[in-house]
């Protein structure tokens, strides 16, 4: 098994997992080992997503894995988190693909769609036959989505949509875009299908991060939509934020996977690389780095496990998800940088997965609420004083 996928369980947390949790994790790990590892560096190098992975991911049941009914597996929160962890041990872009399809797009329809919309989209999305994307961010509104300028105007029975969404994962791959727009009553969500007159998408190129994932700009020029293409239960910004909360939950777990991959790689390297006639892993400075990584990964695993328990019990608060996303991603990023350092010059080439994870994690730190925005969310929670409104 590639070191990236080797387990790290310093505190015997496996004992706390249900058999289905472990089985799900192992199944996804096998999938990543067999289908993702052999090609991921190529995808990263060529700035492309491996669409050929989609049928295999669908067959495995990854899309909408934690939703119930509509052809979805109905996994519990911990099993779902472990699935995200294994995908991200492969590549953050792969996990992003799954997050966008499941936690953002499918979840939006699942939680806020009409029964007819759910029946039409969810089973085929679970099978990977319909791909979705989630358009919230705009060129001028990232951390502050409430300021969005995309607008849907009433027009008889229907709507006319205008505006631009930017940094949208899977934008050009998607068959249906979940688009959040300002309406007279506040914020509403729309299902905009590919090919609608006035809807165009183009990819953002030149990324140094998430190169194995597609990121796009969506442009809406007088796109006519029926009222049946609106998500009827989505009222206000709370709706997209609820989707983000689902995705952030998966990211908190996913980051542990990326960190583990970097740690395993650095550990193996430190044991075999010799300088001054000794393995560099025998020097105290290198050991301090490795132990620091081990400690933070283990802490992050514990946070995830508790997060999963709370989610399964229906007691999870959004602020706790913020805590986990903020901590786990920033620690994963530090671990990746530290692993990169341990690998020396080998840390900058794609013969090892470390630099790829490190670059990817820069995005993970920014999207789904930046590190600092989650700091402000937690700050508001403990002081009762909002610093950003």
């Amino acid at each position: 098994m590639t070191p990236a996928l080797r387990d790290l369980d310093y505190f015997g947390l496996d004992e706390l997992l249900a058999p289905e949790d472990k089985m799900s994790r192992d199944a996804v790990r096998q999938f990543v080992e067999k289908h993702v590892m052999p090609r991921i560096e190529h995808n990263f190098a060529t700035e492309s997503f491996a669409l050929t992975l989609v049928p295999a991911m669908a067959e495995l049941g990854i899309f909408g894995a934690n939703l119930k009914g509509y052809g979805c597996a109905g996994m519990n929160g911990i099993a779902y988190g472990l699935i995200m962890q294994e995908l991200e041990a492969g590549d953050s872009g792969l996990r992003s693909f799954a997050s966008v399809q499941s936690a953002l797009s499918m979840h939006a329809i699942y939680a806020f769609g009409a029964e007819e919309q759910k029946r039409r989209f969810l089973p085929e999305m679970a099978q990977g036959k319909i791909l979705g994307c989630f358009g919230l961010t705009e060129p001028d509104h990232g951390s502050d989505p409430a300021g969005m300028e995309t607008r849907a105007r009433r027009d008889g029975d229907g709507w006319v949509l205008n505006g631009t969404k930017r940094w949208i994962t899977n934008g050009t791959l998607a068959d249906v875009a979940i688009v959040w727009a300002r309406v007279d009553e506040g914020i509403a969500g729309f299902l905009v299908e590919k090919g609608k007159p006035g809807f165009s998408a183009r990819d953002i190129k030149g990324k140094f991060s998430m190169r194995a994932s597609v990121t796009s700009e969506l442009i809406f020029e007088d796109v006519r939509l029926t009222d049946g293409e609106r998500l009827p239960q989505a009222r206000g910004l709370r709706a997209p934020l609820a989707c983000l909360n689902e995705a952030r939950y998966g990211i908190a777990w996913g980051a542990v996977g990326a960190a583990r991959a970097c740690y395993n790689c650095a550990l193996d390297y430190a044991k075999s690389r010799r300088q001054f006639a000794r393995p560099i892993g025998g020097y105290q400075l290198v050991q301090a780095k490795l132990v620091g990584m081990l400690t933070e990964i283990t802490k992050a695993q514990l946070v995830c496990l508790r997060l999963g328990q709370l989610k399964n019990a229906g007691k999870l608060r959004a602020e706790q998800v913020s805590f986990a996303k903020r901590n786990n991603v920033s620690e994963a990023l530090k671990i990746a940088r530290s692993a990169r350092d341990i690998l020396g010059a080998n840390g900058i080439v794609n013969e090892y997965p470390v630099i790829r994870h490190m670059l990817n994690l820069e995005t993970v730190n920014t999207y789904e609420g930046t590190y600092d925005i989650h700091t402000l969310i937690l700050g508001r929670d403990i002081t009762g004083l909002a610093a950003f409104e």
Binding site: P19, E20, S24, A27, Q30, L60, A73
Partner: protein, 249 residues
């Protein structure tokens, strides 16, 4: 067709095995357990036969501890229909395992038994053969290809220097070799379905089989470490060393 697949739990082949200080067993604390890889191939083959025929039942059978449930659940998640776990805490000889399986066969009456040619922990490679003998059924070991038509079976087996094709009538025992197929992994919906599938436990003592081991493990020793290689400066020196030191030529 009902197919019985005997299944064993073994340490993950990637696990670093440590012998206990007393030399009589291996340390199990940090071992990750998996289905014996040859048994996984057997489960896959049974599922494919069932899928090809469009009907049938795949039943897993294991002789082991309660914790083996986990590997049986994995087999159920791959698609097997139900599982039987013959509960026994202590290590057993192959002959005892084969005898217990023969009791399960008498009860279940499968038309076909497919199992791994050996378990990767003790590499005994004898339970399939013993079981066939006890049942008086034909056996085809080391199968690399299995075809079934109307209660007749053709098996291609890998033998030294070539392939051998056997044809026989069912019921029969087939043991699997590595190249028979590539096992599927459990899908997530399969894992959810497996939770509700029947996993029956039967105490080994209740089956009236002599369980007392006749074999005794005297000592386990890890394989000796490989010596580091040495660089030689010329072909002549290499030939010389192969002759004088390695005594190969």
């Amino acid at each position: 067709m009902k197919i019985l697949v005997p299944t064993k739990r073994v340490p993950d082949p990637a696990t670093n095995i440590q012998v206990l200080p007393d030399g009589l067993g291996i340390a199990t604390e940090n071992v990750k357990w998996v289905i014996n890889p040859f048994d996984e191939i057997a489960i896959e083959e049974a599922l494919r036969i069932k899928e090809r025929l469009g009907t049938g039942e795949v039943v897993l059978a294991a002789v082991g501890q309660k914790s083996w449930q986990e590997q049986l659940r994995t087999g159920l998640a791959m698609g097997a229909d139900r599982a039987i776990l013959v509960l026994n805490e202590k290590a057993l000889d192959s002959i005892a395992v084969a005898s217990l399986l023969a009791k399960i066969v008498a009860d279940e009456k499968p038309e076909l038994i497919i199992m791994g040619k050996q378990a990767i922990d003790d590499d005994s490679n004898q339970i399939g053969q013993m079981l066939a003998e006890m049942l008086g059924w034909p056996q085809a070991t080391f199968a690399s290809k299995v075809e079934i038509k109307e209660r007749r079976c053709t098996v291609v087996r890998e033998v030294d220097g070539g392939l051998e094709t056997l044809a026989f009538a069912l019921p029969a025992v087939i043991t699997t070799d590595l190249r028979l197929n590539e096992p599927r992994y459990a899908s997530l919906p399969g894992i959810m379905k497996a939770r509700k599938k029947e996993l029956k436990e039967v105490p080994a003592e209740s089956l009236g089989v002599e369980l007392t081991p006749r074999l005794k493990v005297r000592a386990l020793r890890p394989p000796s470490k490989r010596q580091a290689g040495r660089k030689v400066s010329s072909v002549a020196e290499l030939v010389n060393l192969l002759h004088s030191e390695a005594k190969l030529i």
